[in-house]
């Protein structure tokens, strides 16, 4: 089964050799083991060419071993379950896994765009901005080809079958990163009794220790890791999240972690209902945070440094120790610091020939240099690898002596054949989360990296991420950070000894930001800084020549740090080259801003369970089941689902609405108006309070009286409307619009609590308590009488705009004689639990009157026939009551919210848009709602617009279409002709009329 894995070492590694498995890459089948990543398995199979670069289509291979990998970007899976843009270094190998390179169209090996590489000089920074700009109309064409050639992953075009969930969590200490420092910090905090969450993005805890070789307390370091993890697992208040990437550090110590969940069984076989969670998004609120995410090794910037086979030294060590993969047979190691010497030792130990260590430092390494010498590995101190040969695979390194002068040209005097070039340019602490949290960064000149500086939130950094690069320092720093965290929480830190390590002191790193080439920096072969975005030294220099100075501008111009990279691999090299080009110190140039997400996060994880039926709450009235059974299509109003119409015998909307309208006008209809907001207002100051917020004279209402009321914002604009009923001297009942229910209550409370706390008023929402059944039509009184009502309903005993409590069919109700249809009507308020019973009884008794249930659409037509507005449809937040012709509602005797604004000059303009009715001259056209109104046809664009249509319906009662509109100065223009101009249609001639189309005197509702 292992056949073909030519680079697999016969022994060792943390792979499970008892579980061989097969996977495919670009359609070809390969063998690997459980415990492999996609990257390690591909390396084991000798697959070195993995894709093409973003812009220049250059062949690329695996560079790194984790989140910093720039090239091995994969599309994993097929069809709906396909996941684009995963890093092969982070994809766990699974049986049957199918991966494709996302970069490289039409194929990885034959790339039509490779010719672009030859035009590299033309395709410099800003090329797209400069070239594909004109003519503007062509941009869509350019975009199509550029996007296709760029070869990003393909988003699946059918619903994601995977299941995701969100989980909220709280802890005392969140530790991000489970390497030596993170484990030490977590142990310290947990032993002190803190609630701890430890998250690590890898499959196993251990961090850098997984890459092997280290010893702690005289034993393999992974033994210590196993012990620490076992202890933490035993603690009840400690949660360990492996495969959990902390990707966002937000305000107030709120962090987001995406956890890839282990799929024990075949997910599809479980069926959709029992499908296990694929990814879990943790939303963590932590009291303290310890960031221990380690450091990223930097590549070195030399000519053709992007050739497959040029890899980070630490990644090479990781593949050898963790995956038992030897990525090359004959290696050159190129470094400016001591760490890569260990890689040379690892390579030699794994059986590779290490042709040379090329060390840019004249003095070479510290104590480890001796060990290398003992192994017989030649060291070329004071030398650099200036160029490499080979195209699809590195074939040799061109080596030059270097004096230390940054931009000088050098002469290649030695060429060494190799198929692997392991490079190390030093380490950059992963300061991403620290920086996301608002923490400052400080340049450390001795270690040549940005270190986390002052924190803005209660967090701390530890380990390599804090610039502690030796194992001993990491453990000590983890302990320190753990202790600091528990002390800040007021807990007693436990006594813990720092485990012993056996490291020798290292010689200092020496700056080598850009390796000198045989030609000057602008003419030499490409020296890549950001592999993923094809950003080179020459690009940064070009940006500077073209006037860019600010690091954020240079980033955007050159694409440095875009994509999944987000500055992990090339950022610091880029800043340093920019600084050198500008002749400024690095800290003065600074870094770009780090933002979430640290690594790509699937949209599915962001959405969590909020998909399908759970996307948004569906609010249902107590009568919903009846409506559903009656086959009513639903209209979504806010979160409510309301019946739109009740079709009979296959009627369409138009036919059903016409029938429902005529039933209300001629006999009686019934509507579920339960979604209206309802507020109980009580207290000795109730009148005083309502006088201040409503525009009409509240005090004049006697108990038992109803009034139409509007609420204005302080800007004088209509905010909401409804019915106000005075139930007693000190008690009122308000209704609000369906959409305004919650906001109006909050708004009233705001005035009461912030401005008038002295008023003795209680507000209680009764929206859910009461259902509202609107019974409308000339037969509505007869219907209620027939049903059995214990109070007289005649016009004299119970006049229009009054409220009564009563027993209807033996059930306690409040009856409101209000009308939104212009007909004799009663709104019945009844406890929601009883509403279905009452509705059924009404329907039974109502047969005699052909009682017709009607929906929101009919309600809209009926009210439009009367010229009644719907706030939010006929108004839009810029409409005053004067614009609506509601001056009669505005009390002259008192102040009310918004009153002063009505006297502002803008509100007094004669040409404000005012509510009018419209009739089409042709008499049969329903004008589309939203259509703009113009004075005359045949004008050249841009045509001045004088208003727009807000409501438009066919009126069955009148036999012709009607519309409401807001028209500049409209009220004074009755009888004039305008044109409605719906896009793409012939203008429609319309006449301005009164908005009250039906029964303008209002006689029908008063009967």
């Amino acid at each position: 089964m292992a056949a073909g894995q030519a680079n697999r070492l016969p022994r060792g590694g943390r792979i499970d050799r008892s579980r061989p498995l097969r996977f495919s890459f670009d359609g070809k089948s390969y063998a690997g083991y459980a415990g492999d990543t996609l990257a390690s398995a591909l390396l084991a199979n000798g697959v070195s060419l993995l894709g093409r670069s973003f812009k220049l289509r250059r062949p690329r291979g695996i560079v790194g071993g984790g989140a910093e990998e720039p090239n091995a970007v994969m599309q994993v899976g097929e069809g709906a379950a396909a996941r684009p843009n995963l890093l092969a270094t982070q994809v766990e190998l699974e049986p049957g896994l199918a991966a494709r390179a996302t970069r490289g169209w039409p194929s990885t090996r034959f790339d039509i765009g490779a010719a672009l590489d030859s035009f590299g000089r033309i395709l410099g920074a800003g090329f797209y901005y400069k070239t594909f700009k004109y003519p503007r109309a062509w941009w869509k064409l350019y975009e199509h080809f550029i996007r296709r050639a760029a070869g990003f992953g393909k988003a699946p075009d059918s619903p994601d079958p995977d299941r995701y969930e969100h989980r909220n969590a709280h802890c005392d200490v969140l530790v991000a990163g489970g390497g030596p420092a993170g484990l030490m910090a977590a142990l310290t905090a947990a032993r002190a009794g803190a609630r701890v969450i430890l998250a690590d993005d890898d499959v196993e805890f251990g961090g850098s220790l997984l890459a092997g070789g280290d010893a702690i307390d005289g034993a393999p370091a992974m033994d210590w890791v196993a012990g620490a993890v076992a202890e933490l697992r035993e603690m009840p208040d400690c949660r360990l999240l492996s495969r959990g990437t902390v990707f966002g550090y937000h305000d107030h110590n709120f962090l987001t972690i995406v956890q890839r969940c282990v799929q024990e069984a075949d997910a599809a076989a479980q069926g959709p209902a029992r499908r296990p969670v694929a990814e879990r998004l943790w939303r963590v609120r932590a009291k303290r945070v310890v960031l221990a995410q380690g450091a990223f090794e930097r590549p070195l910037v030399f000519c053709n440094n992007d050739r497959p086979g040029v890899m980070l030294a630490s990644a090479v060590s990781g593949y050898i120790h963790r995956h038992a993969v030897l990525p090359g047979r004959r290696a050159v190691v190129f470094t400016n610091n001591d760490s890569a010497y260990r890689t040379a030792i690892d390579l030699a130990g794994a059986g590779a020939e290490v042709a040379a260590i090329v060390d840019s430092r004249p003095g070479g390494a510290g104590a480890i240099g001796q060990r290398v010498k003992e192994l017989g590995i030649p060291v070329l101190a004071g030398h650099v690898v200036s160029d490499v040969s080979g195209r699809r695979r590195v074939r040799g390194a061109g080596i030059a002596r270097w004096t230390g002068e940054p931009w000088s040209a050098v002469e290649i005097t030695l060429r060494i054949d190799c198929d692997l070039l392991a490079v190390s340019g030093g380490f950059s602490p992963a300061v991403h989360l620290h920086s996301q949290a608002g923490g400052k960064l400080e340049w450390d000149e001795s270690q040549l990296c940005f270190l986390p500086g002052e924190a803005r939130q209660p967090h701390d950094s530890a380990g390599a991420g804090n610039g502690k690069l030796s194992l001993g320092d990491c453990l000590a720093d983890g302990l320190r950070a753990g202790k600091a965290a528990v002390e800040a929480l007021g807990l007693n830190p436990p006594e813990i000894e720092i485990p012993a390590t056996n490291e020798s002191p290292a010689a200092p790193i020496k700056a080598l930001w850009r390796v000198p080439a045989a030609k000057d920096a602008d003419r030499c072969p490409k020296q890549f800084i950001d592999f993923q975005n094809d950003t080179t030294v020459a690009d940064i220099r070009l940006a500077v020549r073209e006037g860019y100075r600010n690091v954020e501008h240079v980033k955007r111009y050159t694409a440095l740090g875009f994509g999944t990279d987000q500055g992990k691999l090339g950022n610091i090299n880029g800043m340093a080259v920019l600084a050198e080009t500008l002749g400024k110190p690095i800290p003065e140039v600074g870094t770009t801003t780090f933002r979430p997400a640290y690594t790509p996060v699937r949209f599915g994880a962001g959405a969590g369970e909020s998909v399908g039926a759970l996307y948004d709450p569906v609010r249902k009235t107590a009568l919903h089941q009846w409506h559903e059974a009656a086959g009513a299509p639903m209209e979504v109003v806010g979160q409510w689902h309301r019946p739109r119409y009740f079709p009979r015998n296959g009627e369409d909307l138009h036919a059903a609405v016409a029938r429902e309208c005529l039933a209300v006008r001629n006999s009686v209809g019934i509507m579920d108006a339960s979604t209206l907001g309802k507020i109980d207002v009580r207290g000795p100051d109730a009148v005083n309070f309502l006088e201040r917020v409503y525009t009409h004279n509240v005090d004049r209402m006697k108990p038992g009286r109803c009034a139409y009321g509007i609420l204005l914002g302080e800007d004088g604009m209509v905010m909401d409307d409804g019915v106000m009923a005075r139930l007693a001297e000190d008690r009122f009942y308000l209704t609000t619009t369906t959409g305004g229910a919650a906001q109006v209550l909050d708004w009233l409370e705001k005035w009461l609590q912030t401005e008038w706390p002295e008023l003795e008023v209680w507000l209680t929402s009764l929206t859910e308590q009461f259902s509202t059944l609107a019974v409308a039509g000339p037969n509505s009184r007869a219907l209620l009488e027939k049903l059995g009502c214990d109070i007289p309903l005649d016009r004299e005993s119970f006049p229009f705009m009054h409220v009564r409590t009563a027993n209807l069919a033996g059930m306690p109700v409040s009856l409101f004689r209000v009308s939104f249809s212009g007909e004799l009507a009663f709104e019945i308020n009844i406890a929601s639990g009883l509403a279905p019973d009452l509705w059924r009884k009404l329907m039974d008794v109502g047969r005699e009157f052909e009682l017709t249930p009607y929906g929101t659409e009919t309600m809209h037509v009926l009210r439009a026939e009367k010229g009644f507005v719907i706030v939010g449809q006929d108004t839009d937040g810029s409409v005053t009551p004067v614009d609506l012709g509601m001056n009669w509602l505005l009390s002259k005797e008192k102040d009310f919210l918004g009153k002063r604004s009505l006297a502002r000059p803008d509100c007094l303009r004669a040409d404000r848009k005012q509510l009018v009715g419209l009739l089409s001259r042709a008499g049969c056209t329903v004008i589309p709602e939203g259509a703009q109104l113009i004075e005359r046809t045949g004008q050249r664009a841009p045509v001045p617009m004088c208003g727009h249509v807000t409501s438009s319906y066919h009126s069955a009662s009148l036999g012709h279409p009607i519309a409401l509109a807001l028209v500049a100065g409209g009220r004074g223009r009755r009888g004039e002709t305008l044109f409605a101009a719906p896009p793409g249609r012939e203008p429609i001639a319309v006449e301005i009329v009164s908005p009250a189309f039906y029964d303008p005197k209002g006689g029908r509702q008063h009967v």
């Binding site: 969930e165 909220n168 709280h170 759970l614 207290g683 209680t764 009764l766 308590q769 639990g833």
Partner: protein
């Protein structure tokens, strides 16, 4: 007035046609025949508090986010607002008694029995289930028996109360959201 809440469909995925079920470490039950009164008064007015407490026969919980047990549960909703949970048949009479006792006081009593749906949640995984949609810290030390909170659960506002250490929770939600919330619970109950 008897309270008749239409059974939310949402729980069918969890317990079919039954009224409760226990699965995967979660127990969910729909509680019927509950009555609710909303009470508003200013707790700084001792006479008013006393008048209410005499009718109730128990203390009004004055500590934020707590509830008092006894004959009926009285949940703190806000510094001047409580929710009284009673049997459905009792709510009307209790409202009358309270209104009578509080006449002349600055107080408001509203029967809100028709506006709520009540669920009982329990089982070893109940906290896990709730944490999928609730940002409260539900750790047993932080949200202990006797505590309640009006808070968000998924996209609904709920009153959540911790009844005992088992743990058992009571969840009270506005009637119109019940179907959605039950659907959400049935989904969140999956391991």
């Amino acid at each position: 007035m008897s309270e008749r809440i239409a059974r939310p469909h949402g729980l069918e995925a969890f317990f079919g046609a039954a009224e409760s079920a226990s699965r995967d470490g979660v127990e969910i039950a729909l509680l019927k025949n509950r009555g609710f009164l909303n009470l508003r008064l200013d707790p700084r007015r001792e006479r008013t508090v006393k008048a209410a407490e005499e009718v109730l026969g128990q203390d009004l919980p004055l500590a934020a986010n707590s509830f008092s047990g006894g004959k009926r549960r009285v949940y703190w909703l806000g510094p001047d607002e409580w929710l009284l949970e009673t049997g459905a048949e009792e709510a009307g009479a209790l409202r009358g008694e309270l209104e009578a006792a509080l006449a002349g006081h600055h107080a408001a009593v509203n029967d809100v029995s028709g506006g709520q749906a009540t669920l009982r949640l329990g089982g070893p995984e109940a906290r896990t289930m709730l944490s999928k949609g609730c940002t409260l810290d539900l750790h047993p030390r932080e949200f202990a028996p006797g505590q309640c909170a009006r808070t968000g659960l998924a996209r609904a506002t709920v009153l959540l109360a911790c009844i005992d250490e088992a743990p058992t929770f009571t969840l009270i939600v506005a009637r119109s959201f019940a179907d959605y919330l039950c659907r959400w619970l049935a989904n969140a109950a999956r391991p």
